[in-house]
Symmetry: C2
Subunit: 478 residues, 2 copies
């Protein structure tokens, strides 16, 4: 560990002074910031994840790259915003890109994915669970750097009639080995499905195999039990105070504990970097039975309020990360791309814009790197966070039409002029919040472009703003 | 510790096998469930309180006895609901009792306060901070069991003109030694006041004195820095991401850390039971600048939603309480009365109804004691919690009249038919919530008195209900 502080890790790996670490990314589906005990879930039913945090580093300000799964996942694996990697829509304003079963698009060959780069460094790469970057053969994960796959191109939606729409297929590598609801049972009535157990066993087996072969590995464990319709295996059903959603969380918590213990048992925990996070905020449209919690934050999935994009996040790497540490670094799932490369001693591609940053200085040395967070819906940048300030250029929850049908992205919450059902533009005078004093985005600050006098409450100049360059500077004259 | 498990503590003390422990109650003012890092505050700025939790026991389901300070404090010290100890109003329906400076009432001589009982067992009792149980001489804390007092009969409201209304006095024992804003400065503009430092020093000095004299003690540390107008001393001002309220919390966090370290340094931590909690939920009418956070819960102070009465709570007693434990025991500030007596080996008075229960089986042996929680406003029982179910018999946030003036007990929150601005009665068919699946009280369960058929979603029989006996039974036929 001392050596890691003295010599940059990539240099150390390059010089051959240690083997590059394995990388395990545990990506949850629709899990919210407030779903873990360590983040204040009132039932505190995640002892393994809480222990992971107490042995590693908790990130308080970690973000999805988009409030919807496909673009967020594409961003994670490319290190690039969805507006760069193509996962956005232009058919209507501020619409997030989703890849339903019958979509013809997917991740482009021109994009360079994390496993493609790791493969060149001798890594074996496996994806377990949900891919979500395209259904057609050219988008198959094994065409984009992964060596192994066990899982599906989409969520476990269904069951379908298998005529107009087939059930979602499940793959082992190139082979389709079955379909959800048919070969992989999900009982929508009881919520019983043993998929998380299958995904867990896949992970344990892969880790064992790699350890035996002494090959470094990248494991992308993208399970989906917390995406509606939520499920858990029989052993966990009915065990949570939180209902079926909580049962799914408990099974995931147990599984993460088993993965970490497996790494320890095999003696490779100090050479395996593990990161736990989620693809977007809790889907409040499915709450409370099928959706999670965004804690004290505003709204949920699909929105660019904090509840839509702030994620639970824990880094774990015994012997390297100080146990029980907490980081206020603004982080993004896109940083997992750049950080993983850095761990391995690789540089990100230089022929394109990479939005993810290397978090290792924050993780290993407790540094705070100055960087903004951009909140997109589709190809519209709705908001920007700089430090503790967040400026909304557009506000929108969902349309009056959808809302009148009972679709509510912000149930029980209503902030006048903020959780708007019309798309409201504030580009001239952004709606400004201080997320330290007001994490729930309930109290917009009055923004004075030219304050006549210093005031007790802070005032702000927006000195430059360019949506093209995705840059904003906020100055506090006080 | 093993002995404490084998022999009831009171029996052990009675048999003389160990000295009875000191009791320290750290009671915060208007601090909310969501204000501590350990409870998910997104800035996580309470390292000392979080460490207290990691060394002790965190209570997730601990409640104030009332959503307002005076009745809640009267209940804590008497172990009795405000409707029994007299701290309620009858001048209007569901109005909480408050003791402004010019009130003529206060705690009755017929009530038996915790320090009165502890004094008989040889304890020296000190209150530091806010009393709030009456201004007139007959209500003075030293007439009700306390041996020492440093503090005030009320909050630090003001400044007043000292003609129509004098500034709030500050007492040392029987002597009025000054007044807020005059002799004890509070700068409302900057928020600077060194009161918490004074209260801290009083606590440290008292503990040192008692330790030196080998006398057991009860310290009731009832500070008020988090009650609007919030304040902090110069060293802490501007240090929090959360603004001035956060500065006050940081100073309190630092002070609690110093008190615990002082106990350890004096070698009496294993013989001192410490409990940290608050008198009611965060005052959202003062948020965000002067009010705290109730985390994911609904509304705040003055209301009987979870945000009004669920409190942060930590028990700390090294060598006795298993470090890092978490309790789901339904607890109340009234239990601190009965639990403190139990610690000392005393029985609660048998000539009256005591509502507080002995939490020692929960704290020392991890037991779960079946008991309800009653939510009162004034003399109206608004709601009852039994297990994870909460039934509202009355709903009310505040009046339309107050709300139209901008007084909002539930800012940014609006649950149709729940956060009502009219007092709405549901006694015939209580509004039922499941606090595990829905801690935010956003999704009332449909209550079917006579379900015709078993359904996938649970249904409930209210089999008996008596407001007089304050009892309710809920059966789940599924």
């Amino acid at each position: 560990m001392a050596r890691a502080v003295l010599v940059p890790l990539w240099l150390c790996w390059a010089l051959g002074c240690a083997a590059p670490p394995n990388v395990v990314l545990l990506l949850m589906d629709d899990m919210g910031w407030g779903d873990l005990g360590a983040f204040g879930e009132p039932s505190k039913e995640t002892p393994n994840l809480d222990q992971m945090a107490s042995e590693g580093m908790l990130f308080l300000d970690f973000y999805a790259a988009n409030p919807l799964c496909s673009p967020s996942r594409a961003a994670l694996l490319t290190g690039r915003l969805p507006v760069r990697n193509g996962f956005y829509t232009t058919n209507a304003h501020a619409r997030n890109a989703y890849t339903p079963q019958d979509i013809v698009g997917g991740i482009q060959d021109s994009e360079i994915l994390l496993p493609e780069l790791l493969k060149k460094a001798g890594y074996t790469n496996k994806i377990i669970g949900k891919w979500h970057l395209g259904h057609r053969p050219q988008f198959h994960p094994l065409k984009h750097g992964f060596d192994e796959w066990f899982g599906s191109p989409n969520c476990h939606f269904g069951p379908y009639d298998n005529r107009a729409l087939p059930n979602i297929p499940v793959y082992r590598d190139w082979e389709m080995i079955g379909r959800y609801y048919e070969d992989f049972k999900i009982d929508l009535r009881t919520g019983e499905a043993n998929l998380t157990q299958i995904y867990l066993q896949e992970a344990l087996d892969f880790i064992s195999k790699q350890q035996a072969s002494q090959q470094p590995f990248f494991l992308y464990w993208a399970i989906d039990a917390t995406h509606a319709p939520v499920y858990a295996s029989k052993h966990f059903l009915g065990t949570s105070q939180r209902g079926r959603y909580g049962d799914a969380v408990r099974e995931i918590d147990d599984s993460v504990g088993k993965i970490l213990k497996h790494l320890q048992k095999l003696g490779i925990s100090e050479n395996t970097f593990v990161f736990f996070t989620s693809d977007n905020g809790a889907a409040l449209i499915s709450a409370p039975k099928q959706g999670g919690s965004n804690g004290p934050f505003l709204c949920g999935k699909q929105t660019t309020f904090e509840g839509g994009m702030r994620e639970p996040a824990i880094a774990w790497w015994p012997g390297h990360i100080p146990a029980g540490s907490v980081s206020r670094q603004l982080g993004s799932v896109m940083d997992l791309f750049t950080t993983s490369l850095s761990l391995v001693g690789l540089q990100p591609p230089s022929d394109r814009q990479i939005d993810g940053i290397d978090l290792l200085p924050a993780i290993l040395q407790g540094k705070l790197i100055d960087r903004p967070i951009f909140y997109y819906r589709g190809n519209e940048m709705m908001a920007v966070r700089v430090g503790l300030y967040k400026a909304h250029y557009w506000t929108w929850s969902n349309s009056w039409e959808d809302y009148s049908k009972g679709i509510d992205f912000c149930p029980g919450q209503n902030v006048s002029g903020v959780t708007t059902h019309l798309q409201e533009e504030h580009s001239t005078l952004p709606l400004l919040f201080h997320l330290g004093r007001d994490p729930g985005e309930k109290y917009p600050l009055s923004l004075q472009l030219h304050p006549s006098s210093p005031a007790a409450s802070p005032t702000f100049h927006v000195v430059s703003w360019s949506s093209e360059q995705c840059q904003m500077h906020i100055m506090n004259p006080a």
